[in-house]
């Protein structure tokens, strides 16, 4: 029981981080990014590949992957998604376009990853056991959790206490109004999208030390991140963290008590309950 709680909690750190990134992409840049999971797996692939061929410490890759993903996602937003934002007449039209475009990108990234490594990204790094409040877990999980908390916390402080961060939150509240008060909306959106990608890649590199991934698994992470975002409420960081903890613990419980093959089904069950009872998010207010 304690084991489930501890490992579920440790896993949820990374989930929360990735969901935060997706929240920035959807909440601020208004792009429903279905390629988010592939960016995460790309981060994991980088860590795996650099570790097995160059023996590079995966935690260095975390930083490198975040920077590379930041640049890559900024370029994607600037050159591939901005035309869609401009041509969209309504939010609905943009959603359809961005879903199809990012879905296409997810396949392209997946195809490229397949040509680099067709099998599992399996390697071992810092998998020594460690004991936390009576429950045994591994060092890499604890580091990943701490790193996720660090990055997420930094992001939270940045969003709340810097000029740019507050501007970004303003864009998420209203694109039109923030444009009227002199915020450079296209720039903020690009920045938010790039940050979201960076966070996903960092999360991928972090979990690659203790979860074995492969090129086709990205969609599962996209789905989990989306479920967390919806459960927490779009734009609600506190909600996303609580949602991530719920998902992490429930998944771990299902995997240990019933069957590891049912984690996705468990995530769907949570999703259905949220859609039926609290579609506005855990802490959201009902809108008319």
């Amino acid at each position: 029981m304690l084991d489930i709680l501890v490992s579920g909690l440790l896993l949820s750190g990374t989930y929360a981080l990735v969901a935060m990134g997706l929240n920035l992409q959807y909440g601020v840049a208004r792009i429903m990014n279905l390629a988010n999971g592939e960016v995460l797996v790309l981060g994991a692939l980088a860590a795996f590949w650099l570790y097995t061929t160059r023996e590079l410490n995966p935690y260095i890759t975390v930083i490198a992957a975040a920077l590379a993903a930041f640049a890559g996602n900024w370029l994607i937003y600037r050159f591939l998604l901005t035309p869609l934002v401009r041509r969209a007449k309504t939010q609905g039209a943009l959603e359809v376009d961005s879903i199809l475009a990012t879905f296409g990108m997810s396949f392209i990234i997946m195809g490229v990853m397949f040509s680099i490594e067709g099998g599992y990204f399996a390697y071992k790094y810092l998998s020594e056991p460690i004991s936390i409040i009576g429950s045994t877990t591994s060092v890499n999980r604890v580091i990943a959790f701490l790193a996720a908390v660090g990055i997420g916390g930094g992001l939270y402080l940045w969003l709340n206490h810097t000029r740019t961060g507050v501007a970004m939150r303003a864009v998420s509240v209203s694109t039109e109004a923030s444009g009227l008060v002199g915020i450079n909306v296209p720039r903020m959106s690009a920045l938010a999208f790039a940050l979201g990608g960076a966070v996903a890649a960092a999360g991928g590199a972090l979990i690659s030390t203790f979860i074995t991934l492969d090129a086709s698994i990205g969609v599962v992470f996209t789905l989990k991140a989306l479920i967390i975002v919806i459960m927490g409420g779009v734009g609600d960081i506190r909600g996303a963290i609580v949602a991530a903890v719920i998902l992490g613990v429930v998944e771990t419980a299902v995997a240990t008590l019933i069957d590891p093959g049912l984690t996705l089904a468990a995530a769907y069950l949570i999703f259905v309950l949220i859609l039926l009872f609290r579609p506005q998010g855990l802490f959201g207010r009902r809108t008319t």
Binding site: G92, V96, I99, A101, G104, M110, F114, L275
Partner: protein
């Protein structure tokens, strides 16, 4: 009602008869390709019935298709029930599943629906494997059947014809009108008194029904069926690409996408199998950036431009 509507039906009826004669003259290889085309035509047209007017991208085709196939396989292999009974059961099950999904997600915005359908096939596959591992013990089903490729071809052709006819009727009904208003502006639709959720759920149920029916019909062709095979998510993406490539503005438009795409897809799978994922990605980007209204939409734009130029 405009007479041109009946003219359209007449043309389609003639084409269906011509298509039905094809297996009598074509070689086995050609019948095989024709069968695939019929299958995707049925899936793409029924997909477009719902996703065309509403713009809700459904990625659930594989879930219905797989469910249909699995039900037929289970019924025929484990209980020795007749094929015709099982395809009816499978199609109804697909309809019920679609209705449940629709009731849970279609009351909300389109994004939730897309996300839900995204992992649906994978989730059902996990669930089925788990049930099989723990309670049934068997992993696959052997199915014996006397059908040959031309029989599947004819059955699928019949499905295409029925879906087309149904689409034609819906387009002319209050429901079709309501859906077009929803697609243009959902808020307006709600304010003029349309029960938007119900209209969407009904149409999505139809889509699910036919996708499961198609999966059920082709099930015996596999001979040996496993959950891992029939829930292959590729079907969902291919259907979306084909339908959008052709366009969704006309009932027949998806077929314009099905025929060329399937030929290219078969070629890629034969010659460059490792690049097929990449190819799907490129096809999606092509649709978004070059052909946002499909080939048919693009042609119609050109035609109206030429007309404007003349007058």
């Amino acid at each position: 009602m405009r007479p041109s509507g009946y003219l359209e039906l007449l043309i389609v009826a003639v084409l269906v008869v011509l298509a039905a004669l094809f297996p009598l003259v074509g070689s086995n290889l050609h019948i095989g390709v024709g069968l695939d085309m019929m299958m995707f035509a049925a899936l793409a047209i029924s997909w477009a019935l719902f996703s065309g007017p509403t713009h809700y991208i459904s990625l659930a085709t594989a879930a219905f298709y797989g469910l249909g196939g699995l039900i037929v396989a289970m019924g025929m292999a484990d209980y020795e029930l007749p094929f015709w009974l099982m395809i009816a059961v499978a199609a109804l099950a697909g309809g019920v599943l679609a209705a449940l999904i629709g009731l849970a997600t279609l009351r909300l915005t389109g994004v939730y629906f897309v996300i839900f359908t995204l992992g649906l096939a994978e989730m059902i596959r996990n669930l089925v494997s788990w049930i099989q591992n723990n309670f049934l013990g068997s992993h696959g089903f052997l199915i014996f059947s006397d059908f040959r490729d031309q029989h599947y071809y004819w059955m699928l052709l019949a499905v295409v014809a029925v879906v087309y006819l149904l689409g034609w009727v819906i387009n002319r009904s209050r429901l079709g009108f309501a859906l077009r208003i929803i697609g243009n502006d959902e808020t307006v639709a709600r304010h003029v008194g349309i029960n938007t959720a119900m209209a969407k759920v009904i149409l999505f149920t139809t889509t699910g029904f036919f996708a499961a029916l198609v999966g059920a019909i082709v099930a015996p062709r596999w001979s040996y069926i496993e959950a891992n095979q029939v829930f292959s998510p590729h079907i969902s993406f291919l259907v979306v690409i084909m339908a959008l490539l052709g366009g969704t503005t006309r009932l027949w438009a998806p077929i314009v996408g099905v025929v060329p795409f399937l030929l290219i897809w078969n070629w890629i799978n034969g010659n460059l199998p490792n690049q097929s994922t990449l190819f799907i990605g490129v096809a999606f980007l092509l649709i978004v950036y070059v052909l946002p209204h499909g080939v048919v939409g693009r042609l119609e734009q050109l035609r109206s431009k030429i007309r404007e130029g003349r007058s």
